[in-house]
Amino acid sequence: MDADGTLEDPPIHSFLRDGFEVHAAALERDLAVTVLPRQVLLVGSGNPVLGDASFVHGVPQSSTVAGVTFAQDKRVRRALLEKQGFSVPRGATFSIGKSARQAVEFAERIGFPVVVKPTMGDNTIGVIPSVSDAEQMREAIEYLHTPLDIREDFTRASYAMTELREPGLRDGVPVAPSSYRFLVEREVSGQYVRVLVVDGTVRSALYCPSGPWKPESGFQDITEVIDPSIASTAVKAAKVIPGLALAAVDMIVPNFRENTPSKDTVVVELSERPWLEAQWKLDPSLAAQLACQILSFELRGVPLGPTRSKITVQVRFDGAVAPAAFRDAYERQAARLDLKTELEVSDPALGHITGQVTGPPRLIAWLTETALDDGVEGHKAMVGEFHPL
């Protein structure tokens, strides 16, 4: 913690934010955690194998695979919203190969500016807002030819559909498959509002003046002042996809303080993830608070202890590729963060490392998330188990 008592974490990729915040919240409440690759997190010690609750990227276990898959399919999501009477921007999907020309014609027909989004995949990722003429539209489609994994902001959730199509080839250079689809939507003007709904309740509402992609425009926490009519539309919209325990609903409204009928509330995104990065940009403690609510929802009745600023946990890492090197790197990193460690390679053949770590729970969580994602100094382990002492 720094001087004015706010949290000061080392940097973490926005893609890992949700998983990290829930992870940190669990350690702060003195709960045991098991961390597996791809941000799979098991919390609590009620069941020695499963824990009491589990998350992936901060998405609770009660969200079904059907639910998260539907949320990642923007065509289906739009169709479901429309069918239930919600407003969505005028839009249609096209492929970068066969129907790219039709996409430009379509944009001209519905009128610029438009927003271009990949049809499938992580919400709010790869979105190209404010495409204002045919030329920019063609540039956007050109950009969509970039193979997914080398796009700058590309992320793919652990539960996303697998891309098995062969990449396309253009002048001998690999590009996205020609059947790769994208959505063209009319860009609606108004106030961009993001509402986090957990278990049918609004937990947070943010006003993002230039959209969630531009935090520098100054986000505002409007949870207390958003008109109940809009909050209620968000709650109903979150129910449109069956099997989502949690949803971040992005809407455009004329004025978030005023009573707005559902027909004037345009739903532009509906994500299965909380995307707490937005709240964190505004106020880190807000993100932490919300993570705790998500945790508490999925734990259903398992009591949460008081928040602790320093803990000692018994640690066990499994599946370390180079166990001794991993241990050394982990200890060096821990020292830089002022964490106290006592670790030993308990079984070099099996790659086990055991011991204790003491320090602020957020930093312990941060180090673990990093170690399992990219590795510490390039050294990785597969599983980390943490039991509070």
Binding site: V65, A79, I241, P242
Partner: protein, 945 residues
């Protein structure tokens, strides 16, 4: 077909021949773009009185409404005729007798075709299909008599002017630039589309005239693709006249069907206009070619009663055979109408050779447009007299697939491609023609019959459907016969992967739920009270997102199962070069082990069954030498087990199948080739495996070599011949249901899996086991993968062993879990009202649906509500009706449905399947119906009724 003898025992008289085996198969003609066309091939094997065996072929070109094959299921019709041909004895001592025999068969067949037509009053049913049957008979008799096909048909000439292979596109040749035209032949083809290009025809023509160099006249074929108006057609004639006027040679210009309209009057008008313009010019004649107006002789006679025609296209697939094409040309010839013989496009050399030889025998032919394009990409045929090459192997050079099951293709994952969204536009395929010198030389070389046969490799690899008579014995597995599934015909129309997205919906509808579908993979089901349940391919609400996230990571899965003490092959990832740790690890878990690169592809660098430290070092050295050698690597316990897929729903194991590489069992009589064909036939009747036949490829050849066999060997009775190394069902592997024999300890381990992964109530467990009947602790065993969205089809439709209704069990479990009100028993019959939305008008949706329904025995009606909504009522057996419902998200070829809702209604009074008039389009529909009635009357008149 009662005339020929049907007697399998009595000896043949001289001149007679008996068909001992008849076979029909279909294949898709590959096209660079657009939807592939399907062709049918008929193969007849016959014996002559002196014991000689003759094999003959004929290719049919069913092209939907273009050849009358939209009358009903043309495949069913073909199979019925082919079945009837088996065992028949024909007398064909000379040409006249042979041709008479064929005419008789064709006559009976056309009666049968009319009977089998589901479209009442269809005037030209199954012409494209019939062509294949006729040609196979003609080929048979021609070979029998030692004649070429042209000889049998009555040869008239030695060569025919052909429309050249590559058309010049209008505007391609600029005025004054004539250099490129020096080598151009006497016949020229110009293709263009639309009025804009018409403008540039004149300079093109002028260049051609200029390039003719004054040696001889030219024949020019202009194909405007039915894009012109009357006015621009006349302008085209003017251009032609202007270009050729006052040339010193005689030129012929054919203009093929310039209008979209099929009005004979318009064609005549244009011909009159041309004759008028050119009346003073004797050096140029322009012939307007009628296409699609007269399919056969009676139709042309009808047209000629009311006036003349310049030229007519003769298409054997429309006439219904080569003999019918001769009849048509006869009528044309007698009336001085010029004849252009034309194929249907997308033909193989089987079709092209038949048409080429027909061209030599037609009473009149002015121009022929024939070509074989199939062989450019598909080695379907072999030319008689050319070296037969069994080793031709399209896959040679590809790495053999690995034994390592972790690297096998995972069919469950094939769920990423969505081709079914709105806003997509398909290009119409343009048939093109390629001259084939070898076809042209067949007849002159004097090879008897058609001179073309089918290569065996194609028969195994490219065939889609096949039926053989007499039906060969079914392939067996450990004394079991293949399962027969009575829903195969209900699932077939959904396409190769169609049943995957459909099975769960079928059960939802059977249980009385309402369904809404948005794509081939996505649907929701609702009881009208609770929150709906949703599905995308095999992703269902019984599994959490967390569980899928875990299961898609193999190391994570292994470690999590290990934490729960579930048997997994122990393994670990090591840093590159760290052989010491690997050695220590292998010593701990015990040999044998497998070593592989951490991010492996296609089995490169994988070494299995490593027995000791020394072999481990060798394997490490070997792996380091490959292009993946600079990675981290994995060492894991080698389990010498077989590959099982066990499906668990909730806390219950519901199905278990054993997967083995493709194999056939010898019977001491048939070659490996025949056994494989036979096995594939049985596989094609399996709803899950029909579109995934094993191939005769490099891997199969390699496996045969290892067993000292070739494709032509006859393995002894009972010998199991392996034809592949992968267990993957999509690569031709076998599936055997074994749940009943499974040892309880294995089932218990599977249930434990469900308690080890968070939020997992549906799972396909991939278990390696030595013997599924033995306890786990008495064998080497381990779980190598969990599938959170396991395919339902492979466990529901095993090739052998007792099948389990997996989809139904899943749907009951989902309904139970989410508290949906469902029927106690699945309904055997349903009555559904379906509302379809999308780009579905003007694409023949109603007729398409009506035909599907009639074929499936489903009753009801369909009507348009407006140009974006169609309403249908479907009543019938659950499997058939729900199969049609799911196919509504595809619709006919050019339709782009975006969604439908299917809900149960009280069974209405319906009979047959009716296309009901919609409110707005009522007039339009009546006009259409009116034309149909006229057509029927016409047909009756021309047939003397």
């Amino acid at each position: 077909m009662n005339d020929p003898r049907e007697d399998n025992s009595s000896p043949l008289q001289p001149g007679e021949l008996r068909i001992t085996q008849s076979r029909a198969f279909s294949y898709r003609a590959p096209r660079p773009r657009g939807a592939a066309a399907t062709n049918y091939v008929v193969e007849l094997t016959a014996q002559t009185s002196d014991g000689t065996e003759i094999v003959s072929y004929g290719e049919g070109h069913p092209r939907w409404a273009q050849t009358g094959d939209d009358a009903g299921s043309s495949w069913t019709f073909l199979v019925e005729v082919v079945r009837r041909l088996e065992g028949k004895v024909f007398m064909a001592a000379d040409r006249e007798e042979a041709v008479r025999s064929v005419r008789r068969v064709m006559q009976e067949m056309s009666l049968l075709a009319a009977e089998r037509s589901v479209e009442e009053g269809h005037t030209r049913p199954f012409r494209g299909t019939s062509l294949g049957i006729e040609v196979s008979l003609l080929d048979l008799f021609a070979q029998h008599l030692g004649e070429t096909l042209a000889g049998l048909l009555g040869k008239q000439r030695d060569s025919v002017p052909q429309v050249p292979e590559t058309p010049i596109s209008a505007g391609e040749v600029l005025e004054g630039v004539v250099a490129d035209l020096e080598g151009i032949g006497e016949t020229i083809s110009i293709k263009f589309r639309g009025a804009v290009e018409r403008e540039s025809v004149l300079p093109t023509l002028r260049s051609l005239v200029g390039a003719s160099g004054g040696e001889s006249g030219r024949t020019v074929w202009i194909d405007a693709g039915s894009t012109l108006s009357v006015a621009s057609s006349e302008a085209l004639v003017d251009d032609v006249a202007a270009a050729f006027r006052s040339s010193s040679h005689q030129h012929h210009v054919f203009i093929s069907q310039p209008f979209r309209s099929r009005s004979v009057e318009k064609l005549r008008g244009l011909q009159n206009y041309a004759d008028e313009q050119l009346k003073s010019d004797t050096s140029l004649s322009v012939h307007i070619v009628a296409d699609n107006n007269a399919w056969d002789a009676p139709e042309l006679r009808d047209i000629l009663e009311t006036g003349s025609l310049g030229a007519v296209r003769v298409r054997p697939a429309q006439a219904g055979g080569l003999l019918a094409a001769i009849d048509l040309a006869e009528v044309a010839s007698a009336a001085g109408v010029r004849v252009c013989l034309t194929g249907m496009g997308d033909e193989s050399r089987l079709g092209a050779s038949a048409e080429h030889q027909l061209a030599l025998a037609l009473p009149r032919v002015d121009l022929a447009e024939i070509g074989a394009t199939v062989e450019q990409t598909l080695p379907l045929t072999e030319i008689a007299g050319e070296q037969r090459n069994v080793d031709t192997d399209p896959l040679a050079g590809k790495a053999a697939t690995s034994q390592d099951s972790s690297l096998s293709e995972n069919p469950e994952e094939a769920d990423a491609v969505d081709e079914d969204d709105e806003g997509d536009f398909e290009d119409e395929g343009i048939p093109y023609f390629a001259e084939d010198a070898s076809i042209a030389s067949l007849e002159t070389n004097g090879v008897s019959g058609l001179g073309v046969s089918v290569s065996f490799i194609s028969l195994v690899n490219d065939v889609e459907k096949m039926e053989t008579f007499p039906e060969p014995p079914l392939p067996e597995f450990e004394g079991m016969l293949p399962n027969v599934f009575d829903d195969i015909d209900d699932l077939h129309p959904l396409g190769a992967r169609g049943s995957k997205g459909h099975l769960a919906e079928r059960e939802a509808l059977a249980l009385g739920l309402t369904t809404t579908r948005y794509s081939k993979g996505v649907f929701l089901a609702s009881d009208g009270h609770r929150e709906p349940i949703n599905f995308k391919w095999n992703r269902n609400p019984l599994v959490s997102g967390v569980a899928l996230g875990l299961c898609t990571h193999k190391e994570a899965t292994r470690l999590q199962l290990q934490r729960a003490n579930v048997p997994v092959p122990q393994g670990r990832t090591f840093e590159r070069g760290d052989l010491d740790s690997a050695r220590m690890f292998a010593g701990r878990i015990g040999y044998p082990v497998v070593m592989k690169p951490a991010m492996g592809v296609r089995g490169i660098g994988v070494v299995a069954n490593i027995q000791n430290e020394e072999e481990l070092s060798q394997a490490h050295e070997l792996m380091t030498g490959t292009r993946l050698g600079d990675q981290d690597f994995i060492v894991e316990k080698h389990i010498n087990g077989k590959d099982y897929r066990i499906v668990v729903v909730g806390q219950r194991v519901v199905a278990a199948i054993l997967r083995e590489p493709a194999s056939v069992v010898g019977d001491g009589k048939h070659t490996v080739a025949e056994l494989l064909l036979n096995r594939n036939s049985a596989r094609r009747r399996n709803p899950h495996l029909w579109a995934r036949p094993p191939q005769y490829n490099a891997a199969a050849k390699y496996e045969l070599q290892k067993q000292n066999l070739t494709i032509d060997s006859v393995p002894e009775p009972g010998r199991v011949v392996r034809l592949g190394s992968t267990n993957s069902l999509s690569q031709g592997g076998e599936s055997m249901a074994v749940l009943e024999e499974m040892h309880p300890s294995i089932l218990e381990a599977c249930l434990k899996v469900m308690r080890s992964v968070p939020g997992m109530d549906y799972c396909g467990v991939d278990f390696l086991l030595e013997d599924h009947t033995k306890p786990l602790d008495e064998q080497d065993a381990g779980i190598c993968e969990l599938n959170a969205h396991a395919a339902i089809g492979n466990s529901q439709y095993p090739m052998f062993g007792t099948p389990k209704p997996v989809a139904r069990i899943v749907m009951y479990e989902v309904a139970r879990r989410f508290g949906l009100q469902v029927a106690a028993e699945p309904a055997e019959n349903v009555a559904l009202r379906v509302l379809i939305r999308g780009k579905i008008s003007g694409v023949g949706f109603h007729r398409w649906l009506r035909r599907r329904a009639l074929e499936a025995g489903v009753e009801g009606w369909v009507r348009s509500l407006d140009d974006k909504r169609i309403e249908a009522v479907l009543v019938g057996p659950t499997n058939a009706t729900t199969g049609i419902v799911s196919s509504l998200i595809n619709g006919p070829r050019r339709a782009r449905p975006t969604s439908y809702v299917a809900e149960h209604i009280d069974k209405p009074l319906v009979e047959g399947f009716e296309i009901r008039p919609d409110r707005a389009g009522f007039e339009h529909l009546r006009i259409k119906t009116g034309r149909r009635i006229r057509k029927v009357l016409n047909w009756r008149r021309t047939n003397g009724r």
